[in-house]
């Protein structure tokens, strides 16, 4: 599914309780300096994060899968090639 090196642990980010645009700001910061293929797992309960995290991934060339947690959403973000912008 991803070209994650075997054994590498996903970076965990708990953004529960944070309102927009903080979850995306935290995610962008956590992803800085990580190589393509790195995986981040984000927990968020702000309704806007459901749309904004996938939109951020689209704008930045990353892929994302959303699953439902209890009272929050879980986003699995796989970093793509850094884009030129």
């Amino acid at each position: 599914m991803s070209d994650l090196p075997a054994g590498a642990e996903p970076v965990e980010l708990d953004a529960r309780g944070l309102l927009c645009p903080q979850p995306v700001i935290r995610l962008a910061r956590a992803s800085r300096g990580l190589p393509p293929g790195s995986v981040l797992q984000v927990l968020a309960d702000d309704p806007a994060a459901r749309y904004d995290i996938p939109a951020w991934c689209r704008l930045k060339g990353h892929s994302v899968e959303l699953t439902e947690g209890i009272g929050h959403a879980v986003f699995r973000v796989v970093l793509g090639q850094p884009n030129s912008s």
């Binding site: 927009c20 645009p21 995306v24 700001i25 910061r29 800085r32 806007a48 459901r50 904004d52 704008l59």
Partner: protein, 395 residues
């Protein structure tokens, strides 16, 4: 003796003062009256105060004035004055339009087809029917819509002629053709553009408002005479049996006056607005991590929205406001809204850091060019300022 509500400060109960400083209002959703509409409103206070249902001469005169107001809209919409009714707001007109079509079609079914980018009121009326998806520009797929109209139990389709948040137009001619083939009536919700964009021709029922042309915020509802339409429930004696009470005649006349005044320059005003919006689109797109959404060309002339990553919509609105520029936002980064704009969400667009501009008519907002130039000049600085406040400048 009790003094009047509004006059000199020494005798009034409510003090009214206008904001005198130079400000640019780039949000036409509800604004000051067109000067001619204001003059008509004042004159109508003397001439049209009576209940148009009364049979004495003042009542009959008010009734005639109301009929004049309806006729002004009817002529431009291509129907008779009897087909047009006036309502307290566009939302009221939309709710009556939906109720009238649905009730008339109750033997066929109750399902309401709409798009995920339509107004919240329409989506609520469609529930539990899921709305049809839209693409990244908020446009509806004609084939998908056609297929849905052929399903059993569809009472009506309600489609916004163009989107009030992002400006994208829908292919109304094709959508109406699909509806006709399926025998489903189409309500076109032209709230976002009526009077400012080309008047739609492909509809069975049409809804619009009068605030965008500098009138009071009334709603207009037109029903083609061949369309089966009946609003349920007793007591609806006014406005072609669509509402309980007629509109207050002075307001109806002011709305008609604003509409009439806007017609001669509608095309050139639209072209000018299109160019101004283009300037805002270009300026926003030039700022790093700012996305301008909606169709860049097939759009309302006077509407534009963009979203800035790592910024908060309410802070952007306040930062523009401090610079004398009034804009709206579809973000939920505000204490007053819990859910972000369902339109931006349906498009897959960023919902935070959103700014929406709805340009007023130059007759209502003088120096519109200067206002847009001021916004264009400060846009980058405003986004940078808000990101600095949030500590996200480094991203």
């Amino acid at each position: 003796m009790v003094g009047p509500l509004v006059c000199s400060p020494s005798t009034t109960v409510i003090t009214v003062s206008a904001n005198a400083s130079a400000r640019f209002r780039l949000d036409a959703a509800q604004g000051p009256l067109h000067p001619a509409a204001k003059a008509t409103l004042l004159a109508a206070l003397d001439a049209g105060w009576a209940d148009p249902a009364r049979l004495y001469s003042e009542g009959r005169r008010a009734g005639q004035l109301l009929q004049t107001a309806r006729a002004v809209f009817a002529e431009d919409l291509g129907v008779s004055a009897e087909s047009v009714s006036l309502h307290p707001s566009p939302a009221d007109a939309l709710a009556v339009g939906i109720a009238g079509l649905r009730h008339a079609r109750r033997r066929v079914g109750t399902r309401l087809l709409t798009s995920a980018a339509d107004q919240a009121l329409t989506l609520a009326a469609a529930d539990p029917e899921a709305p049809l998806p839209v693409d990244r520009a908020a446009k509806l797929d004609v084939e998908r819509f056609s297929a849905a109209t052929g399903q059993p139990g569809v009472a009506l389709a309600v489609i916004a002629a163009s989107n009030g948040e992002v400006g994208t137009r829908q292919p109304l001619d094709e959508l109406h053709r699909a509806c006709r083939e399926a025998g489903v009536p189409l309500l076109v919700d032209a709230t976002a553009g009526l009077g400012r964009d080309a008047t739609p021709a492909s509809w069975d029922v049409l809804v619009g408002g009068t605030a965008l042309v500098g009138g009071p915020p009334l709603g207009v509802l037109a029903v083609r005479p061949t369309v089966r339409f009946a609003v349920p429930g007793p007591g609806r004696e006014a406005e072609a049996r669509r509402t309980f009470t007629p509109p207050w005649v002075p307001l109806a006349l002011a709305a008609a006056e604003a509409w009439r005044q806007s017609r001669p320059s509608a095309e050139s005003d639209g072209e000018a607005a299109f160019r101004l919006v283009e300037q805002i689109r270009l300026a926003a797109a030039a700022v790093p991590d700012v996305e301008v959404v909606g169709d860049p060309v097939d759009r309302l002339p006077h509407v534009v929205t963009f979203s800035a990553l790592y910024a908060d919509g309410e802070a952007l609105v306040r930062a523009f406001d401090r610079r004398g520029i009034a804009v709206a936002s579809g973000s939920a980064c505000t204490s007053s809204t819990l859910e972000p704009s369902h339109v931006l969400a349906a498009m897959g667009a960023l919902t935070h850091g959103n700014v929406r501009v709805v340009l007023p008519l130059p007759a209502v907002q003088p120096d519109l060019d200067t206002g847009v130039a001021s916004m264009v000049a400060t846009l980058g600085e405003v986004v940078a300022e808000v990101r600095a406040e949030l500590g996200s400048s480094d991203l």
